[in-house]
Amino acid sequence: MSTDVATAPTGPGPLRTPTRNSRETAIQGVFYGAIALFAALIVFGAIDTHGFLTMTNVRAILSSVAFVGMVAVGTALIMISGNLFSLAVGSTAAAAAMVFLALLPHGIVLAFVVTLLMGVVVGAIQGFLVGGIGANTIIVTIGAAGLIQGVALWASKGATILPPKGDTSFTWLNGHIFTFAVPIYILFGTVVVLDQYLRRSRFGRQLKLVGENIEAARAAGIRTAWVVIGAFCIAGFLFAFAGLELGAFNESGSLLIEGTQTYDAIAAAVVGGIAITGGRGSVWQALGGAILIAMISDILLLRGYSEGIQILVKGVVVFAVVVLARLNRMRAES
């Protein structure tokens, strides 16, 4: 890097001062250095961890990707729309698991429809508060999480919801096709469809513009409120879908099912390179982030690290990624 600094004044135009240039180079160095370090750590961890490169483990990773990926894609939509992230991911998913299992006696079709509809409605209300009247996303989603938990506790009387005895109508959700779990195919299908939709539809383009510059979007006559509501609706649908799958997978539903879903979703979207400031990113990136987060969790788990270390590492990764993304952006702007 020192050679870069030394040759810097001759490189770019005469208007640029050497100090500024060396700083830029330094930032760039830090940025790519960190990415390389991160990649090296994962590769090393993967090779060095006993049992990582086995088919069983790959299947295990993909199974957790199936859940994390779903909520990460939902989070990605909210992030692209310029509204940061939802802190109600886990609560929505947990409530969805409970609703789905509780409604199974009335038939799986009804259970599916009502659960997903609940996700959409809950998302729409939050979307209206955020996009319509400009309320802060973080606060709205924290409040929504509290309300959802309250309603779930009230409706379930604090009990864990179990599927009806002998009901096998939902077990196909836990089945395997060509050695991989069914939710994986659902996730990939969702990503492909959603990606095409966002690329080809007017909504997809409006979503990015609203996230990039809401004033410009408004001046262009886009109904920004509806775009944000749309993003939250799809996100709510995906959170509920993930919860439904989790409920089917665990064959029980309670608020405890939420686990670290919320943080995993945000970490996956951020690590996938979706701009937390909005406007940039794709659902494929969210999927990539989810795979990375699942790999990190898996490596730590296989090496016998505690739950605390797993959360800590995800937190540090989120912190590092947002700071590096900002540094990179500053370099691009300067």
Binding site: G134, G143, L147, L153, A220, S306, G308, L312, V318
Partner: protein, 346 residues
Amino acid sequence: MSSRLPEVLRFRGAALRPFLILAVFAIAFALLPQYASGEVGTANITDVFTSFAGIGLVSLALGLTMIIGEYDLSVSSTYLLGGMLAVKTGGSAPALGAAIAVAAGLLVGFVQGWVIAKLRMSSIPVTLGGFISLLGLVYVLSNSKSINYKDIKFTLKLNEPIATVFTERSLIAIGIFLVIAAVFAFTWLGRDVRAIGSDRKAARASGVRVDRIVIGTFMASASISAFSGALLAYSLAYATPNRTVAPLVFATTAALLGGVSLSGGRGNPLGIGCGVLCLALLNEALAVTGSAAYVTYLVTGGLLLVVVIVDAPHLLRWWRTTKAAENLRLGFSGSAAAPAGAGGER
């Protein structure tokens, strides 16, 4: 002349509002026995101050960052971390444990504040990273279990009643509130902090040391919430790792009720104190009437949504019109977008 008066002496409508809201809550609480089963007595007032001591300082910590137009998501983790550190290190000397908790808070606040100020980043992504990492750290320190505090004598001393309605812990919390309120009212700091919250560029242009105050506010926020966690852990005689965002819900609601705005530039410590008392009264009312746990969730979550809707910048606009794009031009570039839009000041 009036502009020369200390802030605390200039009572205007907005500054009075938290006190009025508190009066309404207090009257409603006093009237409670007439409309619901349950008794109200001095023991309830003691309870109110106890819950004030438990979570009031976290509201103050978060409120301070909200006044400068930021939002410190990590307070709920520093709160847990402070309690855990105090219980683990303060076994023989409670003051040492509290000092370690505060020192950890100062360090956390400095790192987050420095990144936010120097890299011109929005506080939410930065403190989200802090929030998750510190939560993990709390689980690591505690090995995912509750840790008991050994010095029971000290715990009893903190909970001993003083002047019927107070305890040592509630007096400590009230004392910290009053000190920070005094700093706000009688020094240039309060004015500068609010200036940063309303218009950071203008504040910078008029010579306010913006970066220092932003970093200082985050250090204050993290150390106050860490201390608050230590105080709580000492008085309960245990610290426990907990993933809930309940402290965040409480603290945000209290700050918003107390006249702080998410867009920054408004509010003061006394107002936040009023907001905390409102919620403490509400919790006590729920306890007196023997309400189930879910009612507390519903009431606190619902109340937070109500205050955030009232605080929302475009509420009136939504009512008035949704028509022409030109009419919809609004102050989104300014403070309103700062908490939500990220990127901070340009």
